[in-house]
Subunit: 433 residues, 2 copies
């Protein structure tokens, strides 16, 4: 029985998790793989601090180059994250003919193209299941399970922190700040949660998923990205009255035959849809394929062991490729000749939720509806609340399908009205479900 | 670019679906596979009746042997279903060195071991994603996505007909018979729906899934199987009052280190669990792995195009194996040396829902609780309904954790009481979620 040797770069949370799973489930993995996995070397800047798993000290090193130069190592697992030196290490590993597993979403989102192209030329594989939703094998499902489908949409709750905050606001009626503090206290949010809250992390992940689904290059700069910091507990309450939940959604979908939309923003979803039931730190992706129909995968988005599980699955997959001498079996990504245009946000259309903050005067609703009407935005329903805060009353409204450009123009005009006392809140409604 | 040749046996619903998807998504599959798929021959008893897809008449044949003998055919897709001649054809294909794709759950459940062993010895692959939940790639997820996990449980809603019937009873308050008639009218149930309603179909599928998860042989005769025909709309109503839904669940789970339980029966699930939201003809599997935690996959259980999507994914997987010369890359099934005992149903334990049909007398509840108490079954809550039908009143009860053997003994005694007028209804509660 052949042994596949692994070199691990980065002995932090996920690195320790990987060592744990390969150790505790060694015999089980051996049975399934019909081969043995061995961690031959672990490189980290810090090899002194105690970790929650025991390893033979002789395999620890601070010398990444020595690990990359070790000709017996077949697979390099990069788990240091961030841009540099991760990128250099990965490119060096590729140059030395080693296969690579990484969970580095930020790097892949920003420089995946260069890395995948280097791997393709070098005849080695780069696997990255851990980069999106560790606890749900979404990349394998998209690439392999749904391989025969034209993908129609990918709708993902792919940031656990943001989902925890929104769930808590919804379940406990907390304010955004209270929910965020609670997330930090529980370790679900980092000290600086900007990447999660502002939608950047979801955008990174969508930049990885969308090209797999649609065969088209998608760059971070192609995405419209809006975070959840402006959502109030009242918006969640009003949305519920209209029959909707609010989720931070990563959206990639076909529009017609030649365009896709790729965006991340708070989104109204029907309350009885499965995605609305995804709460707390959990992640889920809803996919639609032309043959398979609707598919949903749900699991933990991050965390030590779920991410280690995804990384270990990639290692086993690469080990199978090595054992059967079939590198390049499933390409990291294949761009198709028929490139799709990424439709600019201004050209998109959807239904909208608006919350206007106005003074309590008889003609206000007429004025607002007038401007909406001039811009071909028709109103589906309105809640005008009695509640009054410092003489400001909310008018909450759901529209029929309208054009983003028209909405922006209309809201600009409305927000300039003397009776409107704060910036109007706008949340889009997802129409694919 | 190499072409992979496919021989299709069975040109019925799913066979036609396969031809459709390989045709309509040909260019997309070619890009993803970096190879071309071609259906070289289609065998069926009936090659005259019109189908909803156009094929070159020259590839149609009634001569299965000719197709199996065609040395240019790489992959045989068996879609005739049932026992014979499907089994003979598959074994012949294996003998001739061809890889096989099948969606034949009944055959695999009953004779999978022989088929997989023949394939192993012949050095060819048998893939079978379409045999369980066509619209959710559950086999790939279990075998590959969760490969590094010790599986703790598989809980599946894997029969769309039964789920449709229970959903309709729950949503519309229909009786079992009304819901079943509606399912037939809509084409969701066959003229003879016994396999679906009695849990046999779910048992077939669980017999395929459980060995993958637990590495242990599981035969149909090992399973405890109970259908949904005795569930009444009132049970659904009472369960809801206790906070539960009722689903036909296929259950395979670890109990301790050395045993598994494998069973199919109506089951109470907490109403706020995702599985409770799986309604209509949809299927879902809830998995728990020791690293990844909870995972749920949801999709259509059957139907022409979802099943064709699963079969086509297998064909692409095998084509990748052929293109990279790596047959046997992922074994059909690997039984581990450490065989687990399948715990007999009588030794299982769970919480229970009971509905007693009794005459309205003051001492009845005391008599029943007395017998339960003597058998160490303790009551968690009781609903005693005013409603009376022909002098029979229901007493509905949830118990704490109790032993199946004790429950059977107690119910036998209770059902012999003169005040008990009908067989007591018993539904188990799933404790893994």
């Amino acid at each position: 029985m052949r042994t596949i040797n692994i070199g691990l770069i980065g002995f932090g949370t996920v690195g320790v998790g990987l060592v744990k799973v390969l150790k505790s489930n060694a015999s089980l993995i051996k049975e399934r793989l019909k081969g043995e996995l061995q961690i031959k070397a672990i490189a980290d800047k810090d090899i002194v601090s105690p970790r929650s798993v025991e390893v033979d000290k002789r395999i620890l090193t601070t010398d990444v180059e020595a690990l990359l130069d070790d000709s017996e190592i077949d697979i390099i697992v990069e788990l240091i994250g961030g841009d540099e030196p991760a990128k250099t290490y990965i490119l060096e590993a590729i140059k030395k003919g080693k296969h690579v597993v990484t969970a580095n979403k930020a790097l892949l989102a920003e420089q995946g193209e260069e890395i995948f192209e280097a791997a393709r030329r070098g005849g080695v594989d780069v696997y990255f299941e851990g980069s999106v939703g560790g606890g749900m094998p979404i990349i394998k499902i998209l690439k392999e399970g749904l391989v025969a489908n034209r993908i129609q949409c990918i709708l993902g709750i792919i940031n656990g922190t943001a989902n925890y905050v929104l769930s808590r606001m919804s379940q406990e009626g907390s304010s955004f700040q209270e929910a965020l503090s609670e997330a930090k206290r529980l370790g679900y949010a980092e000290a600086d949660p900007a990447m999660d809250i502002e939608g950047i992390d979801s955008a990174h992940k969508l930049t990885i998923l969308a090209p797999i689904g649609f065969g088209t290059r998608v760059r971070l700069s192609d995405l419209y990205v809006e975070g959840i910091a402006e959502i109030t507990d009242r918006d969640i309450q009003y949305a519920r009255e209209f029959g909707y939940s609010i989720k931070l959604l990563a959206i990639a979908k076909e529009v017609g035959d030649e365009e896709i939309e790729v965006r991340v923003h708070p989104t109204l979803l029907p309350q009885d849809h499965l995605l609305s039931s995804v709460s707390g730190i959990f992640n889920a992706c809803y996919l639609r394929g032309d043959c398979i129909g609707e598919v949903l995968i749900y699991g933990q988005g991050a965390g030590q062991m779920p991410t280690a599980s995804a990384v270990a699955a990639d290692v086993v997959d690469l080990a199978r490729n090595l054992l059967s001498r079939s590198p390049g079996r499933v390409p990291a990504i294949s761009y198709w000749p028929s490139v799709k245009r990424i439709r600019p946000m201004e050209e998109s259309q959807s239904k909208y939720y608006f919350r206007f903050s106005v003074v309590d005067q008889p003609r206000v609703l007429a004025e607002i509806s007038g401007i909406l009407g001039q811009n071909d935005i028709s109103i589906a329903s309105v809640i005008q609340k009695e509640r009054r805060e410092l003489d400001i009353v909310p008018i909450v409204m759901m529209t029929h399908e309208a054009k983003e450009m028209a909405v922006r123009l209309a809201l600009k005009k409305i927000d300039e009205l003397p009776v409107v006392k704060a910036k109007t809140m706008l949340i889009r409604v997802e129409s694919m479900i």
